[in-house]
C-alpha cells in the first residue's frame, strides 16, 4: 500500500475515474446510445428508434457482416497454421537462424497496414498470381497482418512448455510427428485458441489494408461503416459498429469457453 492516508487514497481514485471514465468508458456508451437515436443536438440523443438495426441486419449490411465473419475465420485459421508452424519449426533451428525467422514473421507489424495493402496490390495484379478483384486478396491481406500475432503467442507458449513430456514420449519411441500431434499440440491448445481469438478480433476490425484492395462484391463491415459515416449517416454507422463489436465479442466468448475446457482437461 503506497498511499496511507484516506484522503490520499480518495484523491488517487478521483484522479483515476476523472481520467478513465470520459476517455475509455464514454466512447462505448456514446456509440451504443447513438445507434438507437436519430438526433443528437442536446446533451443526450433523442428520438429513439430501432430502424438502424433493422437496416444493419438486412441487405448489403448483412452481406458485409457475413463477409467480415468469413474473412476473419479464413484469415485466423490460415494465420494460425502459418504462424504456428513457423514457431514450431523455428524452435528446432540454431539460435541465430531462429532469430532471423522470428524477425521475418514480426516484420508485417512494423510495416504500416496500408503499405501491406499496397504491396499485395502491386504483386497480385499481374499474372501468374492475378488475385486483384477477388475475395482472396482480402483474406490474404488479413492473413499477412495477423500472422505476426499468431506466431508471437505460439512462440511465447512454446518457451513455457515443459520439455519433460515430449522427452519422455520420445524416449518411449514416439516419432517426432506423433509427439507433435499427441503431446505438444494438446498442451499448446489453450494458447492456440487464445491466438485464434486475437487474430479473429483484429481481422474483424481491419480497415487500413482492406480499403486498399476490397473488390466491389466483398465489402467487409469496417469499410461499410466508413462509407456510412463519410456520407453523413453517423447513426447508421454507430449501429453497424455495435453489430461488429457484438459479433466480435460473441466469437471471443465462444473461443474462451473452448480454451477453459481445454485447460481443464
Amino acid at each position: 500500500m503506497l498511499v496511507h492516508s484516506r484522503a490520499g487514497r480518495w484523491t488517487a481514485w478521483t484522479v483515476f475515474f476523472v481520467l478513465f471514465l470520459p476517455l475509455f468508458a464514454l466512447p462505448f456508451l456514446v456509440v451504443l446510445a447513438a445507434s438507437f437515436a436519430t438526433h443528437w443536438s442536446g446533451a443526450l440523443p433523442s428520438v429513439p428508434t430501432l430502424a438502424h438495426y433493422r437496416e444493419a441486419l438486412h441487405g448489403d449490411s448483412l452481406h458485409a457482416l457475413t463477409t467480415s465473419l468469413l474473412t476473419a475465420t479464413g484469415a485466423s485459421v490460415s494465420a494460425l497454421v502459418l504462424g504456428g508452424w513457423a514457431a514450431l519449426a523455428a524452435e528446432r533451428l540454431p539460435r541465430r537462424l531462429r532469430r532471423v525467422v522470428d524477425a521475418l514473421f514480426m516484420l508485417p507489424l512494423a510495416v504500416p497496414s496500408v503499405v501491406v495493402g499496397l504491396c499485395l496490390l502491386v504483386a497480385f495484379s499481374q499474372p501468374p498470381f492475378l488475385l486483384n478483384g477477388t475475395a482472396w486478396i482480402v483474406v490474404l491481406a488479413h492473413t499477412v497482418l495477423v500472422t505476426a500475432f499468431a506466431h508471437q503467442s505460439v512462440g511465447a507458449a512454446l518457451t513455457r512448455l515443459d520439455p519433460a513430456y515430449e522427452q519422455s514420449a520420445a524416449s518411449l519411441g514416439a516419432r517426432p510427428l506423433y509427439v507433435l500431434w499427441r503431446i505438444r499440440l494438446p498442451l499448446l491448445l489453450p494458447s492456440l485458441t487464445a491466438a485464434a481469438g486475437l487474430c479473429f478480433a483484429l481481422s474483424m476490425g481491419e480497415l487500413s489494408a482492406t480499403v486498399m484492395l476490397y473488390p466491389p462484391g466483398w465489402v467487409p463491415l469496417p469499410v461499410r461503416i466508413y462509407s456510412a459515416t463519410s456520407r453523413g449517416s453517423l447513426f447508421e454507422g454507430a449501429a453497424l459498429a455495435v453489430v461488429m463489436m457484438a459479433a466480435t465479442l460473441a466469437v471471443l466468448l465462444g473461443v474462451s469457453r473452448i480454451r477453459n475446457r481445454a485447460a481443464h482437461r
Binding site: 498511499v3 490520499g8 466512447p27 462505448f28 443526450l44 504500416p112 503499405v115 504491396c119 502491386v122 499477412v144
Partner: protein, 302 residues
C-alpha cells in the same frame, strides 16, 4: 529434480536415432514451407514495391520519383504531421498509462480486476471506433456542443478541434494508452511489496518510492509499451481516415490517397518506402535512447 538427464535437454532427433534407422528430416527443412509462404505473400511484394519506386514508367532505374515526391508540399506536411502526432501521442500514452496503472496497482479498489479485463477487450476493437465515438462527444452534433448550446443558448458550441490534428491526437492517446498499461500492469504486479513497505517505514514518501524503487523495476515494460505505441502511431490509418480532415494528412493516408484516389502507383510506392523507413528509424532511435537511459538508471542505482 537435479538429475543430469532433466538438466540437459536432449538434442532434437537423438531419441529417434537411438531407436532405429529412421530417417529424420533436418530442422531447417521444416522451417522452409512457412518461410516460403511468407516470402511469397509478403516479402516478395515488399521488394516489388521498392523496385517500382525506383523504376519510372520509361524503364531503367532512377531516383527521379523520389526527387519529385520529396519536393511536394503535401508530402512534407504529411511527414511532419506523422512524426509530431506519433511522438506526442506516445508521450501522452506513457504519462496517462503510468498514472492509471499505478492507481490500479497500488491504490486498489473493488472492481479493479474487472477494469483490467475491460482494457483487454478494448485492445480487440479497431481504432476507428474511437474517432466515431468522438464525433458523438465533441462533433458539431454531439454531447459537449449540445450541452454548451443548451446552457448558453448560442447557435454553435466551442468544440471544433475534432477535424484538426488535435482530434487525431486525442483519439490516438485514447486508443493506444491500454497498449502501455498492459505490460506496465504485468510489471507492477512483480514489484516486491516488502521493498515498498521497508522504504515507507524508513520514511520515504510516495514520490521517492516511485522514483527509486518502482521506476527502475518497470522501466523495461514502460519502454516496450512505448516502442510499440510509437510504431503503431506512425502506422495508424483508421483514425486519420475517419477524422476526414482536409488539413490532416499522414504518410499512410498519403499512400492511400495517391494509390486509390489518384491512381499514382509509383508515387504511392515512394511514400510507402519512406513511411517504412521512418518507422524503422524512429523505432531504432527510441530503443537506443531507452538502452542509454536504462544503463544510466542502473549506474545511478548501483
Amino acid at each position: 529434480m537435479a538429475s543430469p538427464e532433466r538438466a540437459a535437454p536432449l538434442p532434437a532427433g537423438t531419441a529417434a536415432r537411438r531407436t532405429g534407422p529412421r530417417r529424420v528430416l533436418p530442422g531447417w527443412l521444416w522451417a522452409l514451407p512457412p518461410v516460403g509462404a511468407l516470402g511469397l505473400v509478403f516479402l516478395h511484394p515488399l521488394v516489388l514495391v521498392v523496385r517500382q519506386s525506383l523504376s519510372p514508367d520509361g524503364g531503367g532505374h532512377s531516383f527521379a520519383a523520389y526527387a519529385q515526391v520529396l519536393q511536394q508540399v503535401p508530402f512534407r506536411d504529411a511527414l511532419w504531421n506523422t512524426v509530431w502526432i506519433a511522438v506526442a501521442s506516445t508521450a501522452g500514452c506513457l504519462v496517462l498509462g503510468s498514472v492509471l496503472a499505478l492507481v490500479i496497482a497500488f491504490v486498489p479498489f473493488p472492481g479493479g480486476r474487472a477494469l483490467s479485463r475491460f482494457i483487454d477487450v478494448f485492445l480487440a476493437f479497431p481504432s476507428f471506433l474511437i474517432t466515431l465515438a468522438l464525433l458523438f462527444v465533441y462533433g458539431t452534433v454531439g454531447m459537449a456542443n449540445g450541452l454548451w448550446t443548451d446552457a448558453t443558448g448560442a447557435a454553435d458550441g466551442p468544440f471544433t478541434f475534432l477535424r484538426t490534428p488535435w482530434g487525431v491526437l486525442l483519439a490516438e492517446i485514447t486508443y493506444f494508452t491500454p497498449f502501455v498499461m498492459r505490460p506496465l500492469l504485468a510489471a507492477l504486479s512483480q514489484v516486491d511489496t516488502a521493498q515498498l513497505e521497508v522504504a515507507s517505514s524508513l520514511g520515504a514518501r510516495a514520490p521517492r518510492i516511485l522514483r527509486q524503487i518502482v521506476l527502475p523495476e518497470v522501466l523495461p515494460a514502460l519502454g516496450a509499451g512505448g516502442s510499440l505505441v510509437l510504431v503503431l502511431c506512425l502506422n495508424e490509418f483508421g483514425i486519420v481516415l475517419f477524422t476526414d480532415a482536409k488539413g490532416v494528412t499522414t504518410l499512410p493516408m498519403l499512400v492511400y490517397s495517391k494509390a486509390i484516389l489518384d491512381g499514382d502507383y509509383p508515387g504511392a510506392c515512394v511514400v510507402a518506402v519512406v513511411s517504412v523507413a521512418l518507422s524503422v528509424t524512429l523505432y531504432t532511435l527510441y530503443r537506443a535512447v531507452l538502452a542509454r537511459a536504462a544503463g544510466g538508471a542502473r549506474r545511478a542505482g548501483a
